[in-house]
Symmetry: C2
Subunit: 191 residues, 2 copies
Amino acid sequence: MGRDIYIALLHHPVLDKDGKVITTAVTNMDLHDLGRLARTYDVRACYVVQPLALQGRLVEKLVSYWRTGRGAEYNPTRKEAFELMRLTPDLAGAIEEIESETGSRPRVVGTTARDRPAALDYARAREELCKGGSWLIVFGTGWGIDPGFLESCTDLVLKPIPGLSGYNHLSVRTAAAVILDRLLGKEQYNA
Amino acid sequence: MGRDIYIALLHHPVLDKDGKVITTAVTNMDLHDLGRLARTYDVRACYVVQPLALQGRLVEKLVSYWRTGRGAEYNPTRKEAFELMRLTPDLAGAIEEIESETGSRPRVVGTTARDRPAALDYARAREELCKGGSWLIVFGTGWGIDPGFLESCTDLVLKPIPGLSGYNHLSVRTAAAVILDRLLGKEQYNA
């Protein structure tokens, strides 16, 4: 298909419960779940965007445990997932690295649980992705990506996942799963 | 649509890494993610199938913290998710309760990461669910539901989630997200 898909798990800038912009702490299970999703859907890499140095060291420790430490022996499929994890202090670092790796500046896809007038539905987003090139799909931790940042750094923003109930409070792990399956999964209905 | 969907998170009988039948320990985050998924996709309840008494007490403690304890005040949307969680020592208990609640014995849908000749694709499974009645979709922890149990207690088994890479090691949280979205999500491609 001639396309390179990357994903990012954003710890800053995201909102807290009260709408304030914060940096969230790393959740171990997010790294496992996002790495395994990346591996499943043939994503090139998963960036963990974390500006705090101490938190970054924690990410490196977790990643190296599963990539080269005892975890790699204990569970080789987890090693494959962690081989896709990369740490960056900010999203700009990921964008630059992808550009130098693929030769094209990635188009950045934002995700949010809040509906926006210009948000793209999944059919149209799939069509966009099919045009090829490099792409970076960004998932926010906490109470979601800072709307100002979403506005400024993304080329397109996806519609929220329409549940059946109006409830839109999925975890970043499960929301990322649904979104990647919708965008990248084989034709779901008869697969 | 006249249907009642239930889900279950099975801790026994499931396989361990070496294919032995075991009972797994409860993972806090599984309860959060499955409860939030259940609430999103308008599922009637999520059964936590856990035969060990001490583990069951842990489930009750977690559930009551979010349902009536300090968690309920701190995060009311999480309270809504935990209101759907129910504890049962075995799947038969869930089946009986659903039957007495809905008036019809649920058809049991198994999930697995291993492909089986008779497994149902998602298009056909959606059609089945559209016929109405009550349904119980079962997700296994550990290395998946014991194949003997899968054989004996299910009315139909879903195909594994086809990734793009042949890698089939998603977490139960993210696999459940993809499966519920495929089976119950609004028409994904243009939603």
